[in-house]
C-alpha cells in the first residue's frame, strides 16, 4: 500500500454573488474545485503540485491536512482518513501555508516553539535535539528571541518551517512556501527542503507557482487544472512536449546583405525575426528546422560577432501548456 492514496476526490464550493439589479435573490454559483482527483504518493517522495490560480491545489492540500471534508471520494494517508481521524492524524503531518502564519505575532518565536512542543507532546530531549538541528539548518540562532512581528518575510518563512517540523512529521505540506522571497532566501529554502527530505525521509508535497522550485526540488510533478489532474510524471517529460521553441540572438560584424530589408522572406520558412540594436533575434522550432541547419545557415550568411542560443523560459513553457490544456 502506498503512503498517500487519493481516489476520485471531489469538492464543491458555493459562491454567493452580489444580487443583480432587478432580481429578487442573490445568485449562487457552484464551483467544482475538485472533480475527481486520484493519485498515489510513496513515502519519501518530493512531489510538486502545480496549476494556474484556482485550479484546486490548495483545496487538495486542505483536504489532505484534515481541514476540509470532501463531498465524495476517498483519501488515506498512512492508513488514516485525514478528515475523519483529524486529531490523531494531524500529529503526523506538518503544514506551511505560505501566506498565513502559525506563530504568535507578539512573542519571541522561541516561545511559540515551546508552545508547539507542548501541543505535540514532544519530550524535552527530543525537542532540544530537533530544535538545534533545525535552527542550524535554517540559520535561526539570532532570531530566536525576536518577536515574529519584527522579522522580515524570508526570516518569517524560515521560522514557520521550523515550527512545522519540530514534531518530526512524516509528511510535510507546503503551500507556496517561496512566495515573496528574495533569491538568496529561495535558494537556502530549497537547500533546506532537499536536506530534510534526504536526511529524514520526510515526504513533501509542494504547491507553487515558481517553476524553479519544481525544477530544483521535485522528481515528480502533478499538473492540476479545472479541478482535474492533467499530468503526473517527471518534469522533464512534461517539458519535452512543450519545449518546441528555440531563440537565437545573433550579431554580425557587418549585417549580411542577403537578408534584405524585410528579413523573413529570406530566411527558412517558419522563422520569426525581430531586429533590435543591431542584433537579430530569431525564433524557430527545432522540429521543423534542425538546430544544426539553422546555425549553418546563419554562419554562411556572414561573420558572426556574437551569438546565443536558448530554449524557451520555463514559465513560457508552462504558460503554453496551460493554454493548450485550455486552462
Amino acid at each position: 500500500m502506498s503512503y498517500i492514496e487519493v481516489n476520485n476526490l471531489r469538492k464543491t464550493f458555493t459562491v454567493r454573488k452580489k444580487r443583480e439589479k432587478g432580481k429578487l435573490f442573490r445568485e449562487k454559483e457552484i464551483v467544482e474545485a475538485l472533480q475527481g482527483i486520484s493519485f498515489v504518493v510513496e513515502k519519501g517522495e518530493l512531489v510538486g503540485y502545480i496549476g494556474p490560480n484556482g485550479a484546486g491545489k490548495s483545496t487538495t492540500v486542505k483536504i489532505l491536512s484534515g481541514i476540509l471534508t470532501p463531498e465524495s471520494g476517498e483519501a488515506k494517508v498512512g492508513g488514516m482518513v485525514p478528515w475523519k481521524e483529524r486529531k490523531e492524524y494531524v500529529k503526523h503531518i506538518g503544514v506551511v501555508f505560505g501566506q498565513r502564519s502559525q506563530l504568535w505575532w507578539d512573542v519571541p518565536i522561541l516561545d511559540s516553539y515551546s508552545l508547539l512542543k507542548d501541543i505535540y507532546r514532544i519530550s524535552e530531549k527530543d525537542y532540544k535535539g530537533r530544535l538545534n538541528e533545525l535552527v542550524e539548518a535554517l540559520q535561526l540562532e539570532k532570531l530566536l528571541r525576536t518577536p515574529l512581528r519584527l522579522l522580515s518575510l524570508g526570516q518569517r518563512m524560515r521560522a514557520e518551517l521550523c515550527g512545522s517540523l519540530l514534531h518530526r512529521p512524516e509528511l510535510l505540506f507546503l503551500d507556496e512556501p517561496t512566495i515573496g522571497l528574495d533569491a538568496v532566501s529561495k535558494l537556502s529554502l530549497r537547500d533546506f527542503l532537499k536536506w530534510e527530505n534526504k536526511e529524514h525521509g520526510t515526504t513533501i508535497m509542494l504547491t507553487t507557482h515558481d517553476m524553479e522550485d519544481i525544477a530544483e526540488l521535485c522528481s515528480r510533478v502533478m499538473v492540476l487544472g479545472h479541478g482535474q489532474k492533467l499530468f503526473d510524471g517527471k518534469l522533464k517529460d512534461l517539458l519535452e512536449k512543450y519545449d518546441t521553441v528555440r531563440n537565437v540572438t545573433v550579431k554580425y560584424d557587418v549585417e549580411p546583405i542577403c537578408f534584405g530589408d524585410d528579413y523573413e522572406p529570406n530566411f527558412p520558412r517558419g522563422v520569426k525575426v525581430t531586429r533590435k540594436n543591431g542584433e537579430l533575434r530569431l525564433t524557430y522550432s527545432p522540429n521543423e528546422i534542425p538546430t544544426a541547419d539553422m546555425l549553418a545557415f546563419l554562419q554562411s550568411a556572414g561573420t558572426i560577432n556574437e551569438m546565443t542560443l536558448e530554449s524557451e523560459n520555463i514559465d513560457h513553457l508552462i504558460a503554453a501548456m496551460y493554454k493548450e490544456m485550455d486552462l
Partner: protein
C-alpha cells in the same frame, strides 16, 4: 493538558507586555468611575435611595476595575478568522474550543488584574462615599473571590459564543457590539443592578449576565448574605456549564462547515 497550561502561561506573559494599554485602560476606567460616582452623588443629593451611597460607589468601582475581564476579546483570533490563519489551528492535535477558552481566560484574568489591583488600591484612598469600602466580612470576601472566578468562567464562555458568531459572519463588529450592549446593561456596569426596581431584579439576577460581576460584588459588599452564597455560587456554576456547552456545540458545528478561502 500540558498544551493548555502552556498556552495559559504564554498568554499571561504576552499580556504583561501591554503595559501602555494598561495605563490607558486605568485612566479610562478611573474617568468613567469618577463620573459615575459623581452622578450618583448628585442623584442622592436630591433624593436619597434605599441603598447607601458607599455601597453604590463600591459597586461602581469594582465594576470599573474588572471591566476588562468582561469585555476583553482576543484580537488574534479575530484576525485569524478573517485572514484564514485559523486553518493552522485545525491542524493541531488539540481541542480548539478549549485552547481558545484558556487563551482568553488568561487574557481576561491578567488584563483585569493589571488594571484592577492598582485601581482598587487608589480608590481605597478616596474619601468615604467616593471610593471603595472594605468587604462586609472575611467570608464575604472569600465567597466573592470564588464568585469572581465562576464569573470569569461565564465571561470566557460568553466570549467564545460571540466568537462562534464571528466565525459565521467573518466580522467581529456586528454581533459583538450587540452582545456587548446586552452585557454592559444587564451585568450592572452601566447602572448597578442593585438600583433596578425589586421586581426587575428578581429576573435580571437570574440571567447569565448577572453572574459575571454583579454576583461577586454583592457577596463582597454583603448585599448577599453568606448563608445565600452556596445557592449563588451554584447558580453561577450552572450558567458557566450551560454557556460552555452551548459554545462547544456551536464551535463543533462551525468546524464542520468551515471553509478556508483562498490559496
Amino acid at each position: 493538558m500540558r498544551a493548555y497550561i502552556s498556552v495559559f502561561r504564554m498568554r499571561i506573559k504576552m499580556e504583561l507586555q501591554y503595559r501602555g494599554a494598561m495605563i490607558g485602560g486605568i485612566v479610562c476606567q478611573m474617568f468613567f468611575g469618577i463620573v459615575l460616582v459623581a452622578l450618583y452623588h448628585a442623584l442622592y443629593e436630591s433624593k436619597a435611595q434605599a441603598m447607601p451611597i458607599e455601597q453604590v460607589s463600591t459597586y461602581v468601582w469594582l465594576q470599573q476595575a474588572f471591566f476588562r475581564m468582561m469585555v476583553a476579546t482576543d484580537p488574534d483570533l479575530n484576525d485569524k478568522i478573517k485572514n484564514g490563519s485559523i486553518s493552522y489551528d485545525l491542524c493541531r492535535p488539540v481541542n480548539m474550543y478549549t485552547f481558545y477558552y484558556i487563551r482568553v481566560a488568561a487574557q481576561k484574568l491578567m488584563g483585569s488584574l493589571m488594571r484592577g489591583i492598582p485601581m482598587i488600591i487608589v480608590t481605597f484612598l478616596l474619601p468615604k462615599g467616593w471610593g471603595i469600602t472594605l468587604p462586609a466580612s472575611g467570608g464575604g470576601l472569600f465567597c466573592g473571590l470564588i464568585a469572581l472566578f465562576l464569573g470569569l468562567l461565564c465571561m470566557c464562555a460568553l466570549e467564545n459564543i460571540t466568537m462562534a458568531f464571528t466565525m459565521r459572519t467573518l466580522d467581529s463588529r456586528g454581533m459583538q457590539s450587540l452582545l456587548n450592549l446586552l452585557m454592559v446593561t444587564l451585568s450592572g456596569n452601566l447602572l448597578p443592578l442593585t438600583l433596578f426596581p425589586d421586581s426587575w431584579q428578581k429576573v435580571i439576577t437570574m440571567l447569565p449576565y448577572a453572574q459575571l460581576l454583579d454576583a461577586p460584588i454583592r457577596l463582597y459588599s454583603g448585599e448577599y448574605l453568606i448563608s445565600e452564597a452556596p445557592l449563588i455560587l451554584l447558580r453561577q456554576a450552572g450558567w458557566a456549564l450551560i454557556l460552555i456547552l452551548i459554545g462547544v456545540w456551536f464551535w463543533e458545528q462551525n468546524r464542520k462547515k468551515m471553509i478556508i478561502q483562498g490559496g
